[in-house]
Symmetry: C2
Subunit: 358 residues, 2 copies
């Protein structure tokens, strides 16, 4: 059987890895940004609109889909690609982050985690095995192991315990995935480096994950309230220890500034809700900084959001129109700003890729 | 100066008028349905998505745009076509219907109407002249006169007074429009036949409007709580009295059944919020009737909304996916159902046009 996953490292320059990741649903160029369609929908955007931004890889969330409509229902529909009509690469997050960011509602033990459903408060349980089974049913190209994500300000002892537990869970996930035939069956599984702000723990976590020989590696635990210094530590360790021939994924990050830093430390891809969330909140990322479209100063501004942007929003509409939509609460505003923001994030990545090509 | 507006009657069959209306922003085939973008936005749909449904004429509302962001602001942006990036024909309603459907907040006198803004409660006033000036600033292809719309259950005396007042306002609108050079300056103005449920009053109103020689004629006062019998009366009178060489527009109607009736009585076009409003409420028009997507029975249904529909929603998605979006409250659901519903309404019109072509 041919190996359906392959990371091609096309070149390297200024620390930027210019790559291409091959998956059963086509390849994507790296470094890149994956927009987030948590519940198998990219907010108000259709697949065509998303593709037009340049997005090639998208993310959905196994935790949310496990709760509703259920992974088995989606499996019976032929899987996530068909269900949401996205024929390109899809990655699903396991849900670890979501479960632990609702920490007061979850109870972790060595075997797994018990939590209250965000939908109806009912008690649910995920184990490292079930998290993979859910993702196997959903059928994304890339699945993530279940990890324990302590908060950014957690006690060193808590961070250490979470790292050790994540590692045990990673072994169990690895074993289960191997028992299915591994990535050759059409789904890659990525390990997640934890370890919080402690460089030694990060190194220990990275080495142990690498020893498990995952198809790729995520750098986790950086999404909530982490300082830039913590990100630097995590990136430093990753750059030194993760194997060059596997993709590196920085989870839940972030902003164009973060991308500049992380890509130059060898990160290959990112996901974040920022562009769509900011879009729905009437905020646009531009080369001039973030524009708040509700501001009066845009009321009569005939300029596009960003004169250097080629997205449909910037080609067709003025800031004045977008402000009108924001003030009137028209849903088209959220759609157009989300399109622009995703396109803008892709532009950042296009420029980084071009830089790596020299 | 060439006349920029021309109604070509291409044929007639089973009472259906197969026509083509030429405007400064291109022609549209009739009979047709105009989707409603009240505040210069078609809810969550982009112009491309709208065009793909087959829509050629769209409607915006002068009353809403007068209040916010203001017609002068839109005029300074180059007008409505440019502002909302729709380069096809646009019609604006004058706002009569909106003002009078908030009747407890409005006070009508012979000169005009004073009302509270729906946005901030401030006192506003529209006259027949200002309604046309607002629309001249907005720059749609077709403007409507200001009319007084009594409720469907109003006293005969109230209906008669509203008809006479609308007629006086129509004369003032006609005079002002003539003083600007009439439709040759790029904007057609349509009269509105009122008269409520009384056939004699309807006839009197139609004759008087026709005597004023408008560019086209709307049949008004049928949007709120009218019975089918009242619609029949209004259509009968219109069919007998409106000139064959001018387009006929049934305002604020309605459903595919209404179209079947009215088109066979010679109505050329319609507008209604139904397809987008139903779409946002998770209801789809289909050849099987209206589907309520929240219903459990759609949870595992792999069929498209309507097997005979060629819209993007039906080409790409199952009822199961659309139900998931409805239950999860994802905005993509409203977008996809609005696209389908508008496409479905266009299909009804395409079929009626084909029938007229024999």
């Amino acid at each position: 059987m041919t190996q359906p996953f392959r990371f091609e490292l096309l070149g390297e320059r200024n620390g930027i890895r210019r790559g291409r990741y091959h998956t059963p649903h086509g390849s994507f160029e790296t470094p890149c940004f994956a927009p987030v369609g948590t519940r198998a929908a990219m907010k108000g955007l259709t697949p065509d609109q998303l593709r037009a931004t340049g997005a090639e890889l998208i993310l959905a969330n196994a935790y949310h889909l496990f709760l509703r409509p259920g992974h088995e229902l989606i499996a019976r529909r032929g899987g996530l690609h068909r269900f949401m009509a996205w024929d390109g690469p899809i990655l699903t997050d396991s849900g670890g982050y979501q479960i632990f960011s609702l920490a007061h509602l979850s109870k972790v033990d060595d075997d797994g985690v018990t939590f209250s459903s965000v939908i109806d408060g009912s008690t649910k349980r995920l184990t490292p095995e079930l998290a993979l089974e859910v993702q196997r049913a959903l059928g994304p190209d890339i699945a993530m192991i279940l990890d324990e994500c302590p908060p950014g300000n957690a006690d060193p002892a808590v961070v250490r315990r979470a790292h050790l537990r994540t590692l045990q869970w990673a072994r169990r996930a690895r074993d289960l995935h191997d028992s299915w035939g591994g990535a050759s069956r059409g789904q890659a599984v990525f390990g997640i480096v934890q370890g919080g702000p402690d460089p030694e723990l990060r190194a220990e976590s990275a080495d142990a994950m690498v020893a498990l020989d995952f198809d790729g590696y995520a750098i986790g635990g950086l999404s909530v309230g982490e300082t830039k210094a913590q990100m630097e530590i995590a990136l430093e360790v990753a750059a030194d220890r993760l194997p060059a021939d596997r993709p590196r994924y920085l989870m839940g990050v972030g902003t164009p500034e973060d991308f500049q830093t992380a890509v130059r430390r060898g990160v290959d891809f990112f996901d974040c809700v920022t562009p769509t969330r900011h879009g729905r909140n009437n905020q646009a990322f531009t080369r001039e900084g973030i524009l708040k479209l509700r501001n009066l100063k845009h009321a009569e501004d005939d300029a596009p959001l960003d004169a250097a942007c080629g997205c449909v929003t910037c080609r067709l509409y003025s800031r004045a129109y977008l402000r009108h939509l924001a003030i009137a609460g028209e849903m088209l505003g959220g759609v157009l700003l989300s399109i622009h923001n995703i396109h803008y994030f892709q532009d950042v990545m296009r420029e980084l890729r071009a830089e790596a090509e020299g």
